[in-house]
């Protein structure tokens, strides 16, 4: 049996424990609600796994992490805008495949009739002498501008149908995905188009700043240890991210995007040009996907009609949602997407380094996206509680 004195001690202990528990809870909530939560999570994840996966901190692996981050981030930035207006863009993968094909059709330096002569574009856009713009001054620039216009046009069509015909974004972008993918495969008869100009390939692979770590002697074969620190993909994507950040978080248009996502009706009543915002947002999404097509197409050195198929959209939407952009709309920041992409690329990389099969990797990614969606629900609830 406890003595009264002991009971008092217990009461005091529980009284001091209560505020401590409350303080821990408040701190946990503030971390979860912090803009930098996913960054902290990524750092913790990296540090926790580093002792068990020595390759993780290897300079070559860090260089890979960076190079895998840029193209995914470029595409995810566009998806951030769409999710912020409570939409979804399923056509991004198809836009990547289609526009990478357009890029190659315009810029290729030559093409083989054995491979492409059966394609409807043969003799119109491409032949043995190369793509339509090959040989013109600034042919690469012209090709890139043209492909960006074509990609953006697809987004504008999505936006017009969603804004003016009231098509659900899921259905409209699903239809676009199917049609554009099929069209890309048809015009090339499923052929990849090689022989891109060197300047174009540099956009996907070129170094600007590299780091030399000396000869590696662990392997039986000495090899060069020069790792790309900053390449053209980094410059392109960072420029895109900065521009998108300013647009979404520092301009009237950005506030309109968030308003449309938070409550479309209220935004309309408040005078926000909702339809115009929707069209522009889907155009931005397709534009970003086209930038991704430049980076992916250039690193693979070919225009590929099937680029962006498979589980690619899982990566894009997953990384964006993990970052904290709300699936319910009204909440999105480019910096969150940057952190989400970093976490997602890190997750993929570590799962690879664990030598898991693709199927297990996809299952793990799916589980993490589910956790991110649940976290999104929890964050919304906490935010409401704090607000109330």
């Amino acid at each position: 049996m406890h003595s009264p004195m002991k009971r008092d001690d217990g009461d005091q202990a529980s009284q001091t424990a209560e505020p401590q528990r409350a303080s821990v809870w408040v701190r946990a909530r503030s971390i979860i609600l912090s803009d930098y939560f996913i960054l902290w999570l990524s750092i913790a994840y990296f540090l926790a796994l580093a002792p068990f996966l020595p390759t993780l901190t290897n300079p070559a692996n860090l260089s890979n992490l960076l190079s895998n981050t840029w193209p995914l981030l470029a595409v995810a930035i566009g998806q951030t805008f769409v999710l912020t207006i409570a939409g979804i863009d399923l056509s991004q993968g198809a836009v990547i495949g289609f526009t990478s094909t357009v890029m190659a059709l315009l810029a290729a330096t030559t093409a083989s009739p054995d491979v492409l002569s059966g394609a409807p574009v043969w003799g119109i856009f491409i032949d043995e002498t190369g793509g339509l713009f090959h040989g013109l001054p600034f042919s690469v620039t012209l090709s890139l501008v043209a492909m960006l216009m074509v990609g953006t046009l697809v987004g504008v069509m999505n936006g017009l149908a969603i804004a003016y015909l009231r098509m659900p974004p899921f259905m409209m972008t699903l239809v676009t995905m199917i049609v554009i993918s099929a069209f890309a495969v048809w015009i090339t008869q499923s052929e990849n188009i090689r022989h891109l100009p060197e300047h174009l390939i540099m956009l996907g692979k070129g170094d600007i700043i590299s780091v030399y770590f000396g000869e590696q002697d662990r392997s039986q074969i000495p090899r060069r240890e020069i790792f790309t620190l900053i390449g053209y993909p980094a410059i392109i994507t960072v420029a895109l991210a900065v521009a998108a950040h300013i647009l979404l978080n520092k301009t009237v248009f950005g506030r309109q995007v968030i308003a449309v996502g938070a409550n479309r009706k209220a935004a309309e009543i408040s005078g926000v040009p909702v339809k115009r915002v929707i069209v522009i947002v889907f155009a931005i999404s397709a534009f970003c996907a086209t930038v991704g097509a430049i980076l992916y197409g250039a690193r693979l050195e070919a225009g590929r009609p099937t680029l962006g198929e498979g589980t690619f959209l899982l990566d894009v939407i997953g990384a964006t949602v993990i970052g904290g952009t709300s699936l319910f709309g009204g909440k999105g920041k480019i910096i969150w997407t940057v952190f989400g992409v970093i976490f997602f690329v890190l997750l993929s990389n570590t799962l690879n380094l664990m030598n898991l099969s693709t199927f297990h990797i996809d299952m793990a990614k799916g589980a993490v996206i589910l956790c991110a969606a649940l976290l999104d629900v929890a964050r919304n609830r906490y935010a409401r509680e704090l607000g109330g």
């Binding site: 590696q216 074969i221 090899r223 693979l300 198929e309 498979g310 589980t311 199927f359």
Partner: protein
């Protein structure tokens, strides 16, 4: 005792363990990056390579790209970062193979490409079947059989082509036309059915083609893995008929898998071009291990598998030269 003799009497694992693989002074770490394991050929090739390397004391890091060329590039880069000694890849297509081979060679890692060659054959160890020749042999056999059965008729051939971004598919189509064009007075313009190496695509396109052209006399599929698909299209239409009966369509494929072996034995299929899977796997492994042993970072070599055609006429003598028949004899299709 040679490889094939060993294969005859033992299970696949035991057989593949018997490869005369080069043994480097120390165990190597090999990255084996493949695009998928959709067909019997890839499954058997994957098992032969991984089992043999592991039993030789080497470490195998496996990477499945799930038919995504970009993912395969990232996976190979991860392998290079892990400091592997060599890479064996089954690429998604000829174009991505060029990029990946360059990536490996730029990092001084020897690389071998198994069965699906890069569009540029000048770089890397490339083990490839002579697809055009093998396809031509198989198609020539069924062409002659078809002409013998109907010497006065103009016959309608049909080819199911693979993904023409894959040089294997291009070679097989070339071999088909080479054989058919030998008999211009006997064959009409062939009907081409696209499969893109996808069973569902092949099913849809073949159904459309057969509905539009029900009088097909000769059918060549660019890969044996499509025979179940072909059967599902032809059988309901009464066109799946064995040799010796009215309405039999002369049929040939290419790969040499267990299903094709069974169908030749049962009389539904007349020939298949055989890739010597074990020769190819053995060649890729030996070449990469030899390069590692020699400290050669950018080995360039083309190793050609001449292959042959297993037909209804020679199945009695050559059955056990085909990897699919070996697997069939071990009960592969009963598993």
């Amino acid at each position: 005792m040679n490889l094939r003799t060993k294969l005859l009497g033992s299970a696949l694992v035991a057989a593949t363990a018997g490869f005369v693989a080069a043994s480097p002074a120390q165990a190597a770490t090999i990255c084996f990056a493949f695009q998928d394991l959709e067909t019997e050929f890839w499954v058997a090739g994957h098992q032969a390579i991984t089992t043999t390397l592991q039993e030789g004391g080497h470490t195998v890091i496996e990477r499945n790209a799930n038919e995504d060329a970009n993912r395969q590039l990232e996976q190979v880069r991860d392998c290079i970062a892990q400091g592997v000694d060599g890479i064996i890849i089954i690429p998604q297509d000829g174009e991505s193979a060029v990029t990946i081979v360059n990536e490996a060679q730029d990092n001084d890692v020897p690389i071998a490409v198994f069965n699906r060659p890069p569009s540029d054959l000048s770089k890397g160890i490339i083990v490839v079947a002579d697809n055009a020749s093998i396809a031509s042999q198989a198609v020539d056999y069924i062409a002659q059989e078809a002409i013998a059965a109907n010497p006065d008729d103009m016959l309608q051939p049909l080819i199911i082509v693979g993904d023409l971004g894959d040089p294997n598919a291009v070679g097989r189509r070339d071999g088909f036309y080479e054989a058919i064009n030998r008999y211009p007075d006997n064959f009409a313009e062939p009907i081409e059915v696209a499969s893109e190496w996808d069973a569902a695509t092949a099913l849809a396109n073949l159904e459309a083609a057969v509905t539009a052209n029900p009088d097909i006399d000769l059918l060549f599929t660019s890969s044996d893995f499509l025979f179940p698909t072909i059967r599902s299209v032809l059988e309901p239409r009464g066109m799946w008929v064995p040799r010796g009966q009215d309405g039999h369509i002369m049929m040939a494929g290419l790969d040499g898998d267990a299903t094709a072996c069974q169908l030749i034995q049962d009389g539904y299929v007349d020939a298949t071009g055989v890739q010597d899977l074990y020769f190819e796997a053995e060649s890729a492994m030996n070449a990469i291990l030899a390069a590692i042993e020699a400290g050669e970072a950018q080995p360039n070599e083309v190793i050609e598998d001449p292959g042959f055609a297993l037909t209804a006429g020679n199945i009695g003598e050559r059955e056990m030269d085909m990897w699919g028949c070996v697997l069939l004899s071990q009960g592969f299709l009963d598993q």
